[in-house]
């Protein structure tokens, strides 16, 4: 455990915690501008959160402790993942005990907690959203594992920091087929996991199509603020993980001096990725729910091919 790693991990949590609503704001702003609207500005998600936090906490009749715990678990797992994943530093002190499998499990834990919270309200929408989220989760988890596994096979370790460091040392590996296939698979999965178009539409409350919004329909006040904040953090962490797995340049190793640079570079990378994602969404329609498994099966195949390629194209 190095002091630089500890400071880096703390910086990562602060950066993700404070920056993720801004990322959502940037994405909404990009989208608004491209659709010819003025947009509410990048600070709007923070204003929304402040407004929600000042409200009184209300739980619907008949809901148990699960309903109250779900947002806390979701936000907690997101914060832990933010500390573990190589965002600004590869030398996080938690890195040794939390590898790829732990990160995937933590993300899944948050999703399952929220789905249980949705079921706990016993409303039609909560149940529908929860069941859909579970369908997506069941298809997404193996693909995340497989696509990162393709990258970890050549490193010989499932430690995310080690994978990023090895890509730093051998940049030519980024253009290998295994890496490219894994990048495409992981991109599809990140989009599905964070509930963006074309899998889920984050800005609609149309009952036929919503997944994530259906689960959180009964939340209000500080609980809703927590859920929104955690969703933004998950988006930031997944985009950051994607950026650093395939373009790790600028990340700080064990040196304290590089840390501010790494933070700035990470912010730029994630803002660019988020902007590109939002710009792509303008031109896209949501897929029918029954077509979503097709898309995810496709990304799973790409991930399997990436693993295969990392073994037989050596």
């Amino acid at each position: 455990m190095t002091p630089a790693g500890t400071v880096g991990a703390a910086a990562q949590v602060l950066l993700v915690g404070a920056g993720s609503p801004l990322l959502v704001g940037v994405m909404r702003q990009v989208r608004a501008r491209m659709e010819g609207r003025a947009g509410a500005g990048v600070w709007q998600p923070w204003r929304d959160l402040r407004k929600l936090l000042r409200k009184e906490a209300i739980a619907p009749d008949g809901t148990g402790p699960l309903f109250r715990l779900a947002p806390l678990v979701l936000a907690g797992t997101a914060l832990v993942v933010a500390a573990v994943v190589p965002i600004a530093t590869t030398a996080s002190p938690l890195d040794g005990s939390a590898d790829l499998f732990a990160v995937t499990a933590l993300l899944a834990l948050g999703t399952v907690a929220l789905a249980l919270g949705g079921l706990d309200t016993a409303t039609a929408f909560g149940g529908m959203g929860a069941s859909r989220e579970m369908v997506v989760l069941a298809l997404v988890e193996p693909t995340i594992l497989m696509s990162v596994f393709a990258l970890s096979a050549r490193v010989g370790s499932t430690d995310l920091g080690a994978i990023v460091t090895s890509t730093l040392h051998r940049p030519e590996l980024v253009a290998s087929p295994a890496s490219l296939l894994a990048a495409v698979a992981l991109a599809v999965v990140v989009i599905a996991e964070t509930g963006r178009l074309p899998v889920d539409n984050p800005s609609t409350h149309l009952e036929l199509t919503m997944i994530h919004e259906a689960m959180v329909l009964e939340y209000a006040g500080p609980d809703l603020a927590l859920v929104e904040w955690a969703s933004a953090m998950r988006l930031t962490v997944l985009l950051g993980l994607f950026a650093n797995l395939f373009a790790p340049w600028g990340i700080a190793g064990a040196s304290l001096v590089m840390l501010p640079v790494a933070v700035v570079v990470f912010t730029v990378k994630v803002a660019l990725l988020g902007g590109a994602l939002a710009a792509g969404e303008v031109f896209m329609a949501k897929l029918r729910m029954f077509r979503v498994p097709e898309l995810l099966a496709g990304s799973f195949v790409l991930a399997v091919l990436a693993v295969a390629a990392s073994f037989f194209l050596v």
Binding site: E172, A175, V301, A309, F311, F312, L313
Partner: protein, 219 residues
């Protein structure tokens, strides 16, 4: 062209080859399928060109140019014409649904890897290491041939098989004689021409190109 750059470009061409084959399984739009087939033809040409440049073989580079023109331009052009004459632009209902066939493609890739291990072990080199990719394309082509209903999609399946066989030939033998490659290419061209005429006739006779409707004899 030496060392890592050779291996990298070879692997990239192989990756594009198998990616195009998987995407053919994924898409339903016949126009997109033909476009993907054209892209695969270009990837195959690039693969042969890389091998040719690496072996300093001008003949092989010429073959690469021929492969590119035939499979990247001529055959897609013919298919597009057949499509214009043949009406319906979508693969409506494949026998195996798309999600399942994608998973089958993954299994086929593993199978290809398993069966080519002895071949790779004979003479390990970057080119022979890529042989499983070519076999995967052959198997995926067979799968398209078996499960798709539209005549045009089946033709593309047949051509995928042929692309795979060609890739396998170049990867494992480091250079097919020009005469042999020319003969095979002309055969393929002829087959596509015949199938195109057949598709058009089918369309005018039955009003569709769904091959499952053609099981019964009638007068």
């Amino acid at each position: 062209m030496t060392g890592t750059f050779y291996v990298q470009s070879l692997d990239l061409a192989c990756g594009a080859l198998v990616l195009a084959a998987v995407l053919v399984l994924w898409r339903r739009d016949l126009r997109a399928i033909v476009r993907l087939f054209a892209a695969q033809g270009v990837a195959l040409a690039a693969l042969v060109a890389v091998l040719g440049v690496h072996a300093h073989d001008a003949g092989l580079v010429a073959v690469a140019a021929g492969v590119g023109v035939l499979r990247g331009l001529l055959l897609p052009l013919l298919l597009r014409r057949a499509m214009r004459a043949g009406g319906a632009g979508r693969e409506t209902e494949p026998l195996v649904n798309v999600a399942a066939s994608l998973v089958v493609a993954a299994l086929l890739a593993l199978l290809a890897y398993a069966v080519t291990r002895p071949v790779v072990a004979l003479e390990p080199s970057p080119a022979t290491h890529a042989a499983p990719v070519a076999v995967t394309v052959v198997l995926i082509g067979f799968f398209v041939l078996v499960t798709r209903r539209r005549a045009l999609a089946q033709v593309v399946g047949f051509l995928l098989v042929d692309n795979g066989i060609t890739a396998l030939a170049f990867l494992t033998t480091s250079g097919v004689p020009l005469a042999v490659e020319l003969g095979v290419s002309l055969d393929v061209l002829l087959a596509v021409l015949v199938l195109r005429v057949l598709t058009t006739r089918m369309h005018t006779a039955f009003g569709g190109t769904d091959l499952d409707d053609l099981r019964e004899l009638r007068d």
